[in-house]
Amino acid sequence: MFYREAGQFKTNYAKDQGIFPILQDRIWIYFVLVVAFVIIPVFGTDYFLGSIMLPFLVLSLAAIGLNILTGYAGQLSLGTGGFMACGAFAAYKLSTGFPDMNIIIVFLLSGGITAFVGVMFGIPSLRIKGFYLAVATLAAQFFLLWLFNRVPWFTNYSDSGVISAPPRAIFGDFFITGPDATHLSKYLFVVTFVILFALAAKNITRSGTGRNWMAIRDMDIAAEIIGIRAMQTKLSAFAVSSFYCGVAGALWAFLYSGSVEPLSFDVNRSFQILFMIIIGGLGSIMGSFLGAAFIMVLPILISSLPGMLGLSIPVDVISHVEFMIMGALIIFFLIVEPHGLARLWTVAKEKLRLWPFPH
């Protein structure tokens, strides 16, 4: 009744190729934008903006990155954390080496550097397939983290090992990093950045590049036989994916945590992002956000639940229970809907289209 495409005629292919061809979808997106840019900034508390929205948005960006590689191009990766660290340290070296460089340029360049590193680690994918490749990506994870831990040049020879992100403003004195930056300004910067890059990812995946990725994912031999260059396609997926992960790493270190440390990008981070795209939906940009929201909100719920019920459970037990619930939920999701929240969303829309009729 409410969600119908009946009566919405497309008179040319350009309209049918639009990103949201159905009117109700466009209304929904406008609503999301209003929430993101008006309602949350006006009503959000510092805790909500800084401790929930910031990590959620940054991890969504990383999830989009991994989804491009794993969900769209079919190359399973366990090295996301390593690539995020690469972006964070690239941004640190760039912003301290060239203090006058605009911070946006710094972020983009550090994404570019990570893309290059990603391509280097993607080269074996031309020979190694499937799970063998997944294990090979762990090489990136462990090698990169070791590099940033052990080579003092990356931390500018700091003794303490803890290095903080330098304060930077995008224009004038609109600080987005460092002690002068408010949670609101950080949030506004990140939300704009992430929405723009999500849009770009959506565009890439629905155009020629994205189709080539999916072709390689679904059947690589057939894809090559119909003329798709496997090498170029796989490496472009590694490059774009690593770019996103790198930028996400830089944003995490500079805007969310304020300090650049390898520990926040260890192998558990890689798994966390992988869980986000499993639960959200492989091969879906929207799913990357849904999955990130789910994985972010869940631990908060679990840790506050005993308090709400008036129970007192030791912190370490809670963290173990969190592990258990996380594991059980992943299994549950895979059994119920292997294609994740994004598929549930699509199914709900299909049902809504037919409502009130069942078929």
């Binding site: 074996p124 063998y132 997944a134 294990v135 052990r150 969190e322 592990f323 299994i331």
Partner: protein, 311 residues
């Protein structure tokens, strides 16, 4: 220049000058490698029989060790704890078959892999919720003093580990070659559909193989637990078994052993002789880089089945 020397000539000179030290490092590495092989064996069994890349093998090692130690702490004698733990691992295999794999029949391998990731998280959390997360010492009576073999010191513990690994491979080989269920397992590994059509009960087979992998995990857990104490890091040792698998091939039992030896020896020698020049702790990643380089030249691993592409 100095760095170049430390990377190239230095280590070689050192090896030539101190051959017994090199031998000690090498043997130490080989024997650690055997310990990796113990974990890798469980992976191979499950991958061979069901095509599932079982990421939870490490969690099973930890869970088995935690249960074993936990039961002993509660006053059970060692033999009783051992039997009880074996029973627990069989029950676990049953539960996994019933609650997870059975519900995911005909799903793509990547989905099954992710399900085992879920199992790994669940087991890590479950084991520590029940048994606690502090490091538990484990002593099953393996002597830890060293003996002198021609000037090279070898640890008794490492020798025991090697013997245990050898025994296990022998037992598994007999199991696969000589028993009825072993033959069925090999049939399933070759072709699920065909095995099903000649009346091999797939569900039972999977349960058996997960049970065997669980028991192999227990052996690995006891060995590692005796060496490091039973703690969460045991779960991470599974990650070291992955490069072992890559080198040996996911489907080969001898491959798991040889792969373990290569990884163990490689990373120890690299760490001791080349590590200092680049800042140390290269053990963290050396095995993975080695495996990756290895695979670029041989994508199916040392003993893996040759990949034939068809259209």
């Amino acid at each position: 220049m100095e760095f170049l020397h430390a990377m190239t000539i230095g280590p070689i000179v050192e090896i030539i000058e101190y051959p017994t030290f090199f031998m000690e490092v090498l043997i130490g590495g080989l024997l650690t490698g055997v310990m990796y092989s113990l974990v890798a064996l469980g992976f191979v069994l499950i991958f061979k029989a069901s095509g599932v890349f079982n990421f939870a093998q490490g969690a099973m090692v930890l869970f088995a060790a935690l249960t074993f130690v936990g039961l002993m702490e509660h006053g059970l004698p060692m033999w009783a704890a051992l039997i009880a733990t074996v029973a627990v691992m069989i029950a676990l295999a049953y539960a996994i078959e019933r609650l997870v794999l059975g519900k995911l029949v005909n799903q793509e391998p990547i989905i099954l892999f992710m399900a085992t990731l879920g199992i790994a998280f669940f087991l890590d959390g479950f084991g520590q919720t029940i048994w606690g997360s502090d490091v538990k010492p484990l002593d099953v009576g393996i002597p830890s003093d060293a003996i002198d073999v021609g000037g090279v010191l070898i640890n008794w513990f490492d020798i025991t580990a090697a013997v245990v690994a050898g025994l296990m491979v022998a037992v598994l080989a007999i199991f696969f070659q000589k028993t009825r269920i072993g033959r069925a397992l090999r049939a399933v590994a070759d072709d699920h559909q065909a095995a099903l059509s000649v009346g091999i009960p797939l569900k039972t087979i999977w349960m058996v193989v997960w049970s065997v992998a669980g028991i192999v995990g227990l052996v690995a857990g006891v060995m590692w637990g005796s060496k490091l104490g039973v703690q969460f890091t045991l779960s991470l040792i599974a990650l070291k078994a992955l490069p072992v698998l890559m080198i040996g091939g996911f489907t080969s039992i001898p491959g798991a052993i040889i792969g373990g030896l290569i990884v163990g020896a490689g990373e120890k020698v690299a760490e001791v002789f080349w590590g200092p020049a680049v800042g140390g702790a290269i053990e963290d990643w050396f095995a993975y880089m080695l495996a990756m380089a290895f695979l670029v030249f041989r994508p199916q691993g040392l003993f893996g089945d040759k990949i034939i592409e068809r259209v």
